[in-house]
């Protein structure tokens, strides 16, 4: 009795194995004919920084567009005001730079710095967050942004 039960079990296992093998084989055949998911075009399709005015071309050494160059002049003036501990003057100039080239992440960084000088943690946090978005590809500046965030947190406590 025990032996016949055992034989039935082995039989069922074998049947199951055959079925599984068949299904697996069938699935493999089917998957060969299965549809392929389409890939999107690489990043940089309409709407990246290249067209946004910061860089004119994306060769090895990116050349700044005249507009970005002009904005950088203002950014530099803003930075100098910060060095002189004149955050209000800095903000005024950096806002103009931002209007001229909204993609320059350093503007946001310096604006955060200026607001931090004025002890306005809310605005400093907002600009720091924006700086991160625009400087994510620049490891050196991203590091500064992260450090700035720490300082903002410290100052808020």
């Amino acid at each position: 009795m025990e032996g016949s039960l055992m034989g039935l079990k082995i039989f069922l296992i074998r049947v199951k194995m055959v079925i599984v093998t068949c299904i697996f084989g069938f699935s493999v055949v089917l998957s060969g004919c299965a549809p392929t998911i389409m890939k999107s075009s690489p990043e940089g399709y309409r709407g990246t920084s290249q067209e946004a005015g910061e860089f004119e071309d994306n060769t090895e050494k990116p050349v700044l567009s005249p507009r970005a160059l002009a904005a950088l002049q203002l950014t530099e003036q803003g930075r100098m005001f910060l060095e002189k501990n004149q955050p209000d003057n800095a903000i005024g100039i950096l806002e103009r730079a931002l209007n001229l080239n909204p993609n320059n992440g350093r503007n946001y960084y310096y604006l955060a710095e200026a607001w931090l000088m004025k002890w306005n943690i809310g605005q400093a946090t907002e600009f720091n967050r924006l700086a991160e978005i625009y400087l994510k590809d620049d490891s050196e500046w991203l590091n500064r942004v992260i450090l700035q965030r720490k300082r903002i947190k410290e100052q808020s406590q």
Binding site: S27, I37, S40, P66, N89, P102, Q123, E126
Partner: protein, 773 residues
């Protein structure tokens, strides 16, 4: 002899008894009166001597190589800034020389908060309408950026409408002082307030000509008369003038008196505004500060004192020249100028700089600004403290906006005579606001068609239904649950609101029963939008929209999705800014700084931001709204010269009562509204009425068009999806695959189940799963 003695005695007795006390009494009274006058004079002169109107300035203008410009607007700007054309290379500040390919001009010095810029001669070379280069003509150095001074746009006048720029006596060149003395009071430095010789000479001259040719008043007398007395010609007034002059001379130094006089005198009229003081006059007539006036110009100004409007170079140049030459000759007679200087100056023509007829510039913007200023300062302070008020206004954008609106409304009236109304109060109206979305700077504001006919500011005061221009906020709310590829129902349904049935309809009949979310917004499909709204939940939409700063109430009705609740146009424009600014809402900024008359900052305002949505959602919204222009209701923009990427939305309300267009790029955002104040229909849509105005405006502002687009944030991904199912497209099987943006945590997981046998494959997989289960 005895009789004589007695007479003498009587005389002396009377003298001591009556005359001397009387004289002493009179002298005492005079002294007391002079003392009283001295208190009055001191009170006036030690306090604020003049009411100086506060001036409102536009923002400075930034120029850089590679920038496109509108040459017409730019030239007008330079003219308004007081640059005058000369035929030679500019050598003095304010001179300008131009040709088709270049402009050379000598910049004015200017002060803006925290910065002083000294004028230098520059040359701007153009390649058609693009700035090719900017060069400092002194050094030959190429300039990467050039900042033009802010433009005076308004004055807060007191009741007398006097313009005045104060100058100190140290700023006034000697030849200007000599010219004034030669014309008015040659012995000013020697007399004590009265000039008997001058009076006798005036009497003699007037008798000889049997008419009043000359006055005998000294500068001090004129000052006393102008400052303290009425112009009435009475004996008492003359007596008062005399005492006052003597008192002033005792109290003040000669140079102090002269300085007050030079700042006080009336020197002409600019429309309804009085030109007072030599500082203001030198700009009004010659476009330069008094320190830069030539000898001939100084004599011209001095000659004006006698009759500012009679001798005005703007009225009669010949008469002005004759008068000027009289002054020059008088200066020569006094030995104040040499023979050679006289010979050079006499034949020179009188050349005034000219002035534009003064109309209120950007009146609606100014009203908006005034509302903010009156919260800080009283009207009296604004008209007397001589504040400098700096704003975000760009006068070139303002002019372009005004022109585009007028042209657009005229064109609409011509195309449909039913829109034309003769009564200016009832005319077809429109409004424009232009902002910089990142900072909230208000560059221009046109609150109506004609300010003199209606001061109602339709940008800040009107409450109108936004119609489909509200839809982007509904779609933004939907991004939590849906994607741009989600399929929405476009079938007609009846909704029950407060026990009443509401059956929204599409603008035009459509055959499609289902549409993608992107298509629904691009084509402004009402039924699909309501479907989305109902699936998202009206409360959720209200919760999202409430962050965008609307002050008007929104009620939880499904019709909210179609923009049925009134909004203030300024707030609607502002609500679009986060889409163009990484999800950041900025406060509309018009007032930047207020400086007192000593250039000390009294008030300062900066951009103020808060995050209202994520940068990822903002990017996707801009992408969705770009479809409106590329293949939606605003596709006609491409035929109107708009070739750069734009995100936009049209809006039309029930019965065509309002037409809207809101469009933006990363650099600029503009909202246009067209309609009647009384809500009468305009018989056309936002794409026909408001869109062409937007196009006209942007075509006039190449300096604000970078042609750029938004960066794709890291949290956004792109996938190819089937346009019919909205699911991942299957290569070679889906007939119309499209690229679509998705939030990284909201990417479709399934691939197309409509095409390429996806269904049978799925069934097999399901069967295998069931078997193992």
């Amino acid at each position: 002899m005895t009789k004589n003695k007695r007479s003498i005695n009587i005389f002396f007795k009377r003298l001591f008894k009556w005359y001397l006390p009387t004289v002493a009494l009179i002298c005492g009274i005079m002294l007391l009166y002079c003392w009283y006058l001295s208190i009055q004079i001191d009170k006036r002169f030690s306090g604020r001597r003049w009411s100086i109107p506060s001036k409102v300035y536009s923002d400075t203008t930034i120029l850089y190589p590679g920038q496109k410009t509108n040459r017409t607007l730019f030239n007008e700007k330079l003219r308004r800034l007081g640059y005058r054309e000369v035929a030679h290379k500019p050598v003095n500040k304010g001179e300008l020389n131009q040709s088709a390919s270049f402009i050379q001009f000598y910049l004015h010095d200017f002060i803006v908060p925290s910065r002083y810029k000294e004028g230098v001669p520059v040359e701007i070379r153009f390649d058609e309408n693009r700035i090719e280069s900017i060069t400092n003509l002194n050094t030959g150095q190429a300039l990467p950026i050039l900042e033009l001074e802010p433009e005076e746009v308004m004055l807060f006048f007191g009741p007398h409408r006097e313009r005045r720029q104060l100058v100190s006596i140290d700023q006034v060149p000697q030849h200007v002082i000599y010219a004034v003395l030669a014309a008015e009071d040659r012995r000013f430095y020697t007399h004590k307030g009265l000039d008997p010789k001058g009076i006798l000479r005036a009497i003699y001259t007037n008798l000889r000509h049997a008419s009043i040719r000359q006055g005998g008043s000294t500068i001090t007398q004129q000052l006393a008369k102008n400052y303290f007395l009425t112009p009435k010609r009475t004996f008492i007034r003359k007596l008062k003038e005399l005492f006052m002059s003597l008192t002033i001379e005792v109290m003040y130094e000669k140079n102090e008196i002269l300085e007050i006089y030079l700042n006080e005198i009336y020197l002409g009229q600019k429309a309804s505004e009085a030109i007072n003081g030599i500082g203001e006059a030198s700009f009004f007539y010659f476009g330069r500060p008094v320190s830069n006036l030539s000898l001939a110009e100084s004599a011209t100004l001095a000659g004006l004192i006698r009759g500012p409007n009679h001798y005005s170079p703007y009225i009669d140049k010949n008469r002005c020249q004759k008068r000027r030459n009289k002054v020059l000759n008088a200066m020569y007679e006094q030995g104040w100028i040499s023979d050679e200087e006289l010979k050079v100056a006499l034949p020179l023509p009188v050349e005034a700089v000219g002035f534009g007829s003064y109309g209120k510039k950007a009146p609606y913007f100014m009203d908006y600004l005034s509302e903010q200023l009156t919260l800080l300062y009283s009207p009296k302070d604004l008209s007397s403290l001589g504040l400098s008020i700096y704003t975000t206004l760009d006068t070139q954008v303002q002019m372009a906006a005004e022109n585009a609106l007028i042209k657009g409304l005229d064109s609409l009236e011509k195309s449909n005579p039913k829109l034309y109304r003769t009564d200016p109060q009832k005319q077809l109206q429109g409004a424009v606001i232009v902002m910089q979305p990142k900072t909230g700077y208000v560059l221009a504001m046109v609150g109506g068609r004609n300010y003199s006919a209606s001061q109602f500011n339709r940008i800040t005061q009107a409450r109108r239904q936004p119609g489909s221009a509200f839809k982007p906020l509904v779609y933004l709310s939907g991004l939590d649950k849906f994607t741009p590829a989600s399929i929405l129902s476009n079938e007609s349904r009846i909704y029950e609101i407060d026990g009443k049935e509401w059956m929204p309809q599409n603008y035009a009949p459509m055959t499609e029963e289902h549409v993608r979310m992107r298509t629904a917004l691009a084509r402004s499909i009402n039924l699909a939008t309501v479907d989305l709204a109902m699936q998202v939940g009206i409360d959720h939409i209200i919760s999202t929209v409430s962050k965008f700063g609307f002050s008007t109430p929104l009620k939880p009705y499904p019709s909210l999705a179609l923009g049925s609740f009134e909004v203030i146009p300024l707030e609607l424009a502002r609500a679009y800014c986060p889409f163009a600014a990484d999800g950041v809402l900025s406060f509309p900024l018009a007032l930047k700084e207020v400086l007192d008359e000593n250039d000390v900052v009294m008030e300062r305002r900066h951009m103020s931001i808060k995050q209202v949505t994520t940068p990822e959602k903002a990017f996707i919204m801009s992408s969705l709204l770009q479809s409106v222009v590329e293949n939606g209701t605003a596709s006609s923009l491409k035929d109107m010269g708009i070739t750069f990427p734009v995100a936009a939305k049209t809006g039309t309300t029930n019965d065509y009562r309002d037409a809207w267009f809101v469009g933006y790029t990363p650099d600029i955002l503009a909202l246009i509204w067209v309609g009647f104040d009384d809500g009468a229909p305009i018989y056309t849509s936002g794409s026909k009425a408001a869109l062409p105005i937007w196009a006209g405006l942007m075509n006039a502002l190449p300096q604000y068009v970078s042609g750029g687009w938004f960066r794709m944030p890291p949290g956004v991904v792109k996938r190819v999806v089937c346009s019919e199912s909205g699911q991942l497209a299957v290569e070679d099987w889906c007939p119309h695959p499209i690229e679509e943006y998705f939030l990284a945590d909201h990417v479709p997981a399934d691939y197309c189940r409509i095409h390429g046998g996806g269904d049978s494959f799925g069934r097999i997989i399901d069967g295998v799963k069931d078997f193992f289960n």
